[in-house]
C-alpha cells in the first residue's frame, strides 16, 4: 500500500481534461469524473485493504477477549473500561499519538482502526453471550454438555446475531475512520481529500465521498448476507 503513488497536486488536480472551465472553477464536472475515474482505483483498493485487515483483526481480538471475559466474569468490567477508554480518544488524535510509536504508514493506521473495531465488537460479543436465555444454558448443561460444548454449540451460535450486528457497525465505522488514515501516512480514499486544493474541488470530493459510502454499503450488505446464512432460525416464523 505504501508503494501506491501519493498523487501530487500537479499531476492530479491540474491535469484537467474535458470541461476546462468547470474544472478551473472547482465545480461538479461529469466529464472530468468519467475521464479520471480510474485514478481512484488504487486508493479504493488501499481503503478496502485497510478496512478488511483492521476489521478482521479487531473481530478476532474482540471475540477472543469476549470469550475469555464470558468465562471469567470479573474480567468484563476492567476490559470494558480499558476498551471504552480507547474509544473516547478522537480518531485524528489516535493516528497522531501513534506516530512516534509505530511511525508513518499503514501499520499505524491499522493499529488505530483495529483498536476501534475491537471496542465495538467486544461489547456486542459480551452482551450477546450474556443475552443467551438462562433456561437454554441450563438445559444445555442438563443434557451433559461440557463447558466448551455449551459455549461453541449453544452460546456462541445464539450470540451470533448480536456479534454480527457489532461487526456491521464496526465495518461501517471503520470505512469512515479509514478516510482519516492519511493523517498516519497511510493510503486510502482519504488521501484524495488530504489537501486544501483537493478538498475544494467538488468533482473530486463527490467521487471520493460516493466511493467511501458505497464501500460501507457493500460491506454492510456482505455481513448481512453472512448473518442470514448463519442464523436461519432467526427467520423461522410461527407456523
Amino acid at each position: 500500500m505504501s508503494a501506491a503513488p501519493v498523487i501530487a497536486e500537479g499531476g492530479f488536480v491540474r491535469d484537467r481534461s474535458g470541461d476546462a472551465s468547470c474544472v478551473a472553477d472547482n465545480g461538479f464536472c461529469p466529464n472530468w469524473i468519467v475521464d479520471n475515474l480510474d485514478r481512484y482505483w488504487d486508493p479504493l483498493l488501499e481503503h478496502v485493504v485497510l478496512v478488511v485487515v483492521s476489521v478482521g483483526l479487531g473481530f478476532a481480538i474482540a471475540v477472543a477477549l469476549g470469550l475469555v471475559a464470558h468465562r471469567q466474569r470479573w474480567l468484563v468490567t476492567p476490559l470494558t473500561g480499558v476498551t471504552s477508554a480507547i474509544y473516547t480518544i478522537p480518531s485524528p488524535a489516535m493516528f497522531l499519538l501513534l506516530l512516534p510509536v509505530s511511525g508513518r504508514g499503514d501499520l499505524t493506521a491499522i493499529i488505530a482502526l483495529t483498536a476501534y473495531t475491537q471496542v465495538i465488537i467486544f461489547r456486542n460479543v459480551v452482551n450477546g453471550l450474556q443475552g443467551v436465555p438462562a433456561d437454554v444454558v441450563d438445559a444445555a448443561a442438563g443434557t451433559g454438555m461440557t463447558a466448551n460444548q455449551r459455549l461453541f454449540r449453544i452460546e456462541v451460535p445464539l450470540a451470533l446475531p448480536e456479534i454480527l450486528a457489532g461487526l456491521r457497525i464496526a465495518a461501517a465505522t471503520t470505512v469512515g475512520l479509514a478516510a482519516l488514515a492519511f493523517l498516519a501516512g497511510a493510503g486510502g480514499l482519504g488521501n484524495q481529500l488530504s489537501t486544501a486544493s483537493l478538498i475544494t474541488f467538488k468533482s473530486n470530493v463527490v467521487v471520493a465521498g460516493v466511493l467511501v459510502t458505497l464501500l460501507a454499503a457493500v460491506l454492510d450488505l456482505l455481513v448481512l448476507l453472512l448473518q442470514r446464512r448463519l442464523t436461519p432460525w432467526e427467520r423461522a416464523v410461527a407456523a
Partner: protein, 396 residues
C-alpha cells in the same frame, strides 16, 4: 414403539441425608434429605417456594453438588461419576423447557445421542420414534424451529429430548408449569400414559399439591429450610397428614382430593334388586328385600339398566313397565370417584347404577358409599399411571 428388550431398566434412587449448604447462609437449602424412590415410580417433591425442592432435584444430576450426605442411583453414588457423563444418562426437563432456539426439533431431540456419538442413521430413526412417542408427526415437526411450535408442542419436544437415550431416571422441574390449565391437564394425562409404558424412575418437582396428588406414586412434602415433612403415597398423605404443616399444605378439602385417587371399582358398592318386565312380582320383592337399596331396578335382556320402577309397577302379579325415573346417571366401574360423584350431584340424585365395560349392571353407587370410602383407610389405591391407563380420565 421401541423393543422393550433394548430399553434400559429403571433404577432406584436414594437420598441419604443429602444436604446442601451455601456458604454465607445460616440455613441449609436442603437439610438431611433421606428418601427412597423405588425403580419405575414417580416421586413428587412438593412444597412452598424456598423449600429446596428444586435444589434437591438438581443435586441428583449434580447441577448442584451436595455438601454432605449422598445420593445413590442404582446403588451407585452420584459423587463417583463425572457430572457430564451422569447428566447424559438422566433425562432433564425444566419449566421453560429450554429448547435450543437455533436448532431444529430433530436436532434438539438428538442432543444427547450426538454427544454420545451415535451414528446418523441410528439418530434419525430414534428421533422419529421419539416424536411419535410424544404424539408429534415427525414428517411435519422434524425440520421446525422451536419458535414455530406451540407451548404444548415445545413441552413434548422437551420430553422427547429428555427420553432420547432412554435414560433410567428422569428429572422434571415444573414441566407443565408454563402451560395453560386445559392443555396442562391433557399433557399430564398423556405423560402418565407414557410413564405407564416406560416405567422410568422420576423425580418431579411442583408447588401445586393437586398436581402432586395426580402425578405422584409417592409425594415428599418439603418445608422452608429444606426439611422433609412427610414422604408417603398420595392417599396416605391425604388421610393422615403427619404434621400440621402438611395438613395445611394439602388443604382443607383433602377428603375431596382423595376422590380423585379412587375409582368406582375400588370401593364396595350397594347391591340392588333387579327385574325385567313380566317377571313375578313376588320374586322381585324378595330380591329387593335382600338388597342394600329399597328400590327395584328395571334392566333389559342384556342386563343393562333401564330405570327405577315405580310402586305401581309391582302392584300386579307380574312386573309392569312403569318407571319412577330413568337410570341416569349410569356410572362405569372405571370412573374416578370424583367424576362419579360429580355426575350424581349434577343429576340431583343420591344413587346411580354402576355398569361394567359391557354396560351390564354390577351394583349401585350412592352418596353414602362415597362418603364411607372417603372416610375409610387407604387401601388398594391405584397408582396414577394405573388411573391413566384405561383412559377414563377427563380428556379420554
Amino acid at each position: 414403539m421401541p423393543d422393550p428388550s433394548d430399553r434400559s431398566t429403571a433404577e432406584p434412587l436414594e437420598f441419604c441425608e443429602a444436604t446442601k449448604r451455601y456458604p454465607g447462609s445460616a440455613e441449609p437449602a436442603v437439610d438431611g434429605l433421606s428418601l427412597e424412590v423405588p425403580a419405575g415410580e414417580i416421586c413428587v417433591l412438593v412444597g412452598p417456594s424456598g423449600c429446596g425442592k428444586t435444589t434437591a432435584m438438581r443435586m441428583v444430576n449434580r447441577m448442584i453438588d451436595i455438601t454432605a450426605g449422598d445420593i445413590r442411583l442404582g446403588g451407585r453414588s452420584v459423587r463417583d461419576r463425572k457430572p457430564e457423563e451422569l447428566r447424559r444418562h438422566i433425562g432433564y426437563v425444566i419449566q421453560q423447557i429450554g429448547l435450543f432456539p437455533h436448532r431444529t426439533v430433530a436436532d434438539n431431540v438428538a442432543t444427547v445421542p450426538k454427544l454420545l456419538g451415535w451414528d446418523k442413521k441410528r439418530i434419525a430413526a430414534r428421533v422419529d420414534e421419539l416424536l411419535e412417542l410424544v404424539g408429534l408427526d415427525p414428517r411435519v415437526m422434524r425440520k421446525r424451529y422451536p419458535a414455530q411450535l406451540s407451548g404444548g408442542q415445545r413441552q413434548r419436544v422437551g420430553v422427547a429430548r429428555a427420553l432420547a437415550i432412554d435414560p433410567p431416571v428422569m428429572l422434571m422441574d415444573e414441566p407443565f408449569g408454563a402451560i395453560d390449565p386445559i392443555n396442562r391437564e391433557r399433557l399430564q394425562n398423556e405423560f402418565l400414559r407414557l410413564q405407564a409404558e416406560l416405567r422410568k424412575t422420576i423425580v418431579f418437582v411442583t408447588h401445586d399439591i393437586d398436581e402432586a396428588i395426580k402425578m405422584g406414586d409417592r409425594i415428599a412434602v418439603m418445608q422452608v429450610g429444606g426439611r422433609l415433612e412427610q414422604y408417603a403415597r398420595p392417599a396416605e398423605l391425604l388421610m393422615a397428614p403427619a404434621t400440621e404443616f402438611v395438613e395445611d399444605f394439602v388443604g382443607a378439602d383433602r377428603a375431596l382430593k382423595r376422590l380423585a385417587l379412587q375409582r368406582v371399582r375400588d370401593i364396595d358398592l350397594w347391591t340392588v334388586g333387579t327385574c325385567r318386565v313380566g317377571e313375578p312380582t313376588s320374586e322381585v320383592r324378595k330380591r329387593v328385600a335382600e338388597a342394600d337399596l329399597e328400590f327395584p331396578l328395571l334392566i333389559d335382556d342384556r342386563q343393562r339398566p333401564i330405570g327405577w320402577l315405580s310402586e305401581r309397577a309391582l302392584l300386579g302379579e307380574r312386573v309392569r313397565d312403569e318407571l319412577r325415573s330413568r337410570a341416569d346417571p349410569v356410572v362405569e366401574l372405571d370412573d374416578i370417584l370424583r367424576d362419579a360423584l360429580s355426575d350424581l350431584l349434577a343429576k340431583e340424585t343420591m344413587y346411580g347404577p354402576v355398569v361394567d365395560a359391557r354396560g351390564r349392571i354390577v351394583g349401585v353407587l350412592s352418596i353414602q358409599v362415597i362418603s364411607h370410602a372417603v372416610g375409610g383407610q387407604p387401601g388398594n389405591v391405584p397408582s396414577p399411571t394405573e388411573l391413566a391407563e384405561t383412559g377414563t380420565n377427563e380428556d379420554g
